[in-house]
Symmetry: C2
Subunit: 365 residues, 2 copies
Amino acid sequence: MTIAALATLKTRLQRRKLDAILISQPHNRRFLSGFSPLDHGIEESSGVLLIPRKGRPLLLTDSRFELAARQEAPDFEVLLYRKGLLALLKELFTTLKIKKCGFEGHYTLHSSAEKLLKMATGLGVELLPVTNLVEKIRLCKDQVELAKIERAVLLNEEIFQEVYGQLRPGMTEIEVALQIENTMRMRGAERPSFETIVAAGPNGALPHAVPSSRTIKEGEPIVIDMGLILEGYCSDMTRTVARGTPAPKTREIIRLVRQAQLAGMAALQAGVTGKQVDAQARAVIKGAGYGDKFGHGLGHGVGLAVHEAPGLSPRYTKKLQAGMVVTVEPGIYIEGWGGVRLENMVVVEEGGCRLLNRDTTFLDL
Amino acid sequence: MTIAALATLKTRLQRRKLDAILISQPHNRRFLSGFSPLDHGIEESSGVLLIPRKGRPLLLTDSRFELAARQEAPDFEVLLYRKGLLALLKELFTTLKIKKCGFEGHYTLHSSAEKLLKMATGLGVELLPVTNLVEKIRLCKDQVELAKIERAVLLNEEIFQEVYGQLRPGMTEIEVALQIENTMRMRGAERPSFETIVAAGPNGALPHAVPSSRTIKEGEPIVIDMGLILEGYCSDMTRTVARGTPAPKTREIIRLVRQAQLAGMAALQAGVTGKQVDAQARAVIKGAGYGDKFGHGLGHGVGLAVHEAPGLSPRYTKKLQAGMVVTVEPGIYIEGWGGVRLENMVVVEEGGCRLLNRDTTFLDL
């Protein structure tokens, strides 16, 4: 992947007449180099790539990450910034004869950009903000990436099944969430791709509920939204389940959300827009009178980031392309009662989409 | 805290002749308002404060966080941006007659700042980057904050003791790290303040080691660096321990690092610089011939962020002030052998410092 992606990037640099580009966005950095350390927030970067149009790409980091850099990014020359990144860049712009360089305006702090621009101006180097250049290369996944994503999805399902098998009324939401995240780590996931959601009964009415110490009651709907990272790639899956006999209303709403999910999947194929797919699923929920209870988009892209382009939402009017990976996750949220959300991941293909999930727990009541 | 901090902030706005300030940095946002949701990275903000010099402060967020906003930030008027933050700000600049507004250049993306500046210019509003204004107000902790930090430190120690009591050779580093993080969450911590480090034997040679599936051997040094968040405030503590009888070299190095820690604490008081304190501890390690094995600074500030100003390091030449909370954490790292780091938290006071930790496990061999 790295080599092909670097070649594509260099073509784009040529088209924009850039001598080089600085890559600070952590997923882009991993995508292009393989270097995996996270940033401790944008304020504490673990490294930056400097990719010249010609010649060997560079990975600039500090001593804490030197070992990881050399092991994980063998195609890159690793340089340490002992006197700060700015001083090293100043040196490199000169020795590599870089006169026009891009930087990621969407992942550079305003204050850092000001310092960078001041330094560059002093050297006679033109620095230009470039937005989402690498993100666009990441949009369509190749076979190697799809295989990684599929492995993440299948591991996610195995872990879900393991914990679901032990789920009993009387457990707290936090206990279930912890079991999920522990099982992820014991089973070799790098980490959860987001904070696991376990929201039972009325707590399910918040799409982004935080697990609480409330105990789970028999029969009530339990929203479990979980994702993990494996080999850098994310899974994201939601099931709404119950222990004991769910009430008729719960069954009815789960069936409705499932119908919406199927409608969304039926509409999904290369060439349609995210807006069109969202509309198909939304129509099912609206038709049943719950239109105002589905307050979020139908889905989002997944890859190295758990939320990335494209979107399946009323705002996403671009056409989907083969190789994109998206979630399909309609939901209904009713204050005081609870929520139901069902989420699968699919690959967009010509003429349809391919479901990555196999698990059907509670989907077909 | 909120009320006093807001009053201080408004004085600073007056001094800079700003009509208002936009607060995007999550710790600053929580410090001033109480609003606790995290951002999902800087690209997915959970909300922004708009604080006018006169009148009620505003918390701008989206529907996902509305409930949390109303509950946690009662002093703020909560407004939802249904058509995006930019559109709402445009409206507010006009209705609140804001002509000169600050924004946090150190926590605003270059690309967001460009859009913001364009919108403001169109309205005739002057937008100015302001750096670390709120961070400076956060530097010295008041009694309420110190009490929260102390509770976080004491809970951290209880959890350490619980896990340390069960630590046996044959466990993997990951197992121990998971036990620590689970115990944190079961005992009511919001979350770990950073990814827990458990690094045994040679793995300890990396200051920022990631727990591995390597099993812990009898007698070898085990670096455990753990922190949690309680009521928003962080703890950060490192112990280097061993099961069975540690080798003479391990005991020697732990004693040496402890001497360095005590020397650092002895030098710590209001009015000295971070550089001076670092130098006192470093001299002990240098004197024993390990100067090049202590590659990081002696300590850092802790509060709402686990790493914040001030620093105890050769680069921090400003004077420390009473009420600052810092770590004192010398270490020695030897490739192939392992590492030893000891870390406590203290409050800077006039004429000395107050140790927040009570735990002395393995400190006094």
